[in-house]
Symmetry: C2
Subunit: 205 residues, 2 copies
DNA sequence: CCTACCGATCGGTAGG
DNA sequence: CCTACCGATCGGTAGG
């Protein structure tokens, strides 16, 4: 309940984005991704912004709240992109491929935020963790339903949709460890290579 | 170099195991797994042992050194078990299956240590991280070679061995998040279910 | 293994 | 957004 209120406040802030606040989010995201949340003193963030540590608290209410903003915004963006992919139509296999492209596109566009999401979400307080888990479950549901659709229409075999979802997502998430957006491989190529290994297993009966 | 010396010292300590030292390792492993390395004060460890915090330092030289002991011992045990599986003979496909069983057996027998290994190894100092990376590379090499053998003997198709290794290991490692050694699923069953999804892709040409 | 204690650092606040 | 500062906690040590 409390966290729902906070999320409404967040949405409000994003309708009236302060450029200074966006700076803060990006600076903190990069520092948290590089050094970890707990190893990043608030003074490192204020230093990078060129202000005193005390002045940070006119932008944020707590360090934990700052982490929450980064993590939940990333989880929301994963969800938004997968919703778009799901609505784009085609066979279940085509949708699943587009879902994987959307997933990899997050690593291409928001790698630091993704790393903070994956590595640091457990450091949030209980209410905030609940929000993140809820959003992740909605996200995984899109995969599960797509695979279930594919079983119904004959694209896929007798795989358990939950099991298939987790094999696909854990294989994709491994890419967040090594994928370099500035390297030679496109996000689409990585997703397709992964699916070359996994699709035969999804089709097997 | 320095870290090689430390590892020799570790081996020595393990030849003369003090039961008190083993208690310490197990208590710290459980606390680090549950709360995270940085959120676990040394006082939480000494409390759980029933001694004062200062007395801990007659057993360890630093908190970081304690983390290293846990992580490198886990990485070593992963390697030892996979070496046994590799030497057990049979086709490449049989060996790969046994490698996956060995991997899952670590989650069954040493889940807390595995979680500390995966979640906290980045908090080690540079020398210690190098040791861990070196051991992980030796570990992955066993998988890579097994898949390469399987391509040569016709068990597998045209998959890139490195790519196949990472798909297999990332799918297995996902199990460390949810697998419950006391639950209904055996470690072998989980590994086999995972391989049912992945083997068809490894065989595909 | 204990007592007693350290210097450093932390997130956060009051008042302007 | 700054100055000045806080109470708490941290990993670790000296001397026994």
């Amino acid at each position: 309940m409390r966290s729902m209120a906070k999320r409404a406040k967040t949405a409000q802030r994003m309708r009236l984005p302060s450029s200074r606040y966006n700076d803060l989010i990006h600076i903190a995201t990069d520092l948290f991704a590089r050094d970890g949340y707990e190893r990043t003193p608030v003074r490192a963030i204020s230093d990078a912004m060129g202000i005193e540590s005390g002045s940070l608290y006119s932008h944020i209410s707590s360090k934990e709240g700052l982490l929450y903003e980064i993590v939940i915004e990333c989880a929301d963006e994963f969800f938004r992109r997968s919703e778009l992919a799901r609505k784009s139509g085609g066979t279940a296999e085509q949708i699943l491929r587009r879902l994987c492209h959307a997933h990899m596109s997050m690593f291409r566009d928001e790698l630091a935020a993704c790393q903070v999401y994956y590595d640091e979400w457990r450091k949030l307080n209980a209410d905030h963790q609940e929000d993140v888990i809820a959003q992740r479950k909605r996200y995984e549901k899109i995969y599960r339903q797509t695979i279930a659709d594919g079983i119904r229409d004959g694209s896929f075999g007798t795989i358990d949709p939950q099991w298939g979802t987790m094999v696909v997502l854990s294989a994709l998430n491994w890419a967040s460890v090594w994928y370099n957006p500035k390297g030679p491989l496109t996000a689409e190529h990585v997703a397709d290579s992964m699916l070359d290994v996994i699709f035969p297993g999804l089709r097997a009966r």
